[in-house]
Amino acid sequence: MNPQLQLLVAIQDLELMIRDAEDAKKAQEFEEMGFGMGGLEELKKAREDLAAKLEPRHRNYYRRLTQRFGHAVVPVIKNLCTGCFANIPASFVSQTHRDRVLTCENCGRILYWP
């Protein structure tokens, strides 16, 4: 897997976790089950550390997409971009192409094959 795409996926997973921890209702649900939520600042620092490893063009593009859509990276399932449900061209499906940071031709989101 492309190392820059790996970073983008890790950053988005981390942002999802941070969002849950900052959501008072969700955080309370986790705390009621006994789970600690005290390491939020550590997670935010980890996010910044990962973002610093991104090439500037990917970091800037990721930020723009996040501001626009909430999520920048979307999984491709059954050859569909799960952000806008556009078909992904067959040429994208080859392993060679998957090893690059590819974007949906319709909505621009970053594509990830789980």
Binding site: Q12, D13, M17, K26, G36, L43, A46, H71
Partner: protein, 153 residues
Amino acid sequence: MDIADVLKHTSPDLYLPDLQATDKESALSEMVDGLIAGTQITNKETVLQMLLSRENLGSTAVGPGVAFPHGRTLAVQKLTILCANSKKGIPFDAEDGKPTHLFFMLIAPPQDSGHQYIKSLAVLTEKMQNAELREAVMKTDDYESFCEALKEG
């Protein structure tokens, strides 16, 4: 949701009877290896990194001898639960400082439709508050008896 609904998200291929790991990070790595061997999931690094981040937020070893490593990641398409035992016990940063013997690892996609992930986590954490049930489940060493013990509790 009850325990039978929760168990629909696991399978005999997602049960590890005796983890060999001796610390938290290698235990998570061994469980993610089990997850990959038992499913179509391929991206070990992403799942492991997400689980380690969750542990940095706060330990998931919340019951006496029990841990629930969990989180959401792009690397999976549906809620998947791996269950594992460790006969020796593994240091997992539990509040009581004792080793952890029983693990329920819940990995969900970002969407988590119907809040299956949170509900499953709630069912399991509540079940494991029962000391008698916990002991019974820890003593099992095959998938069928593991599930039976959980259902009987």
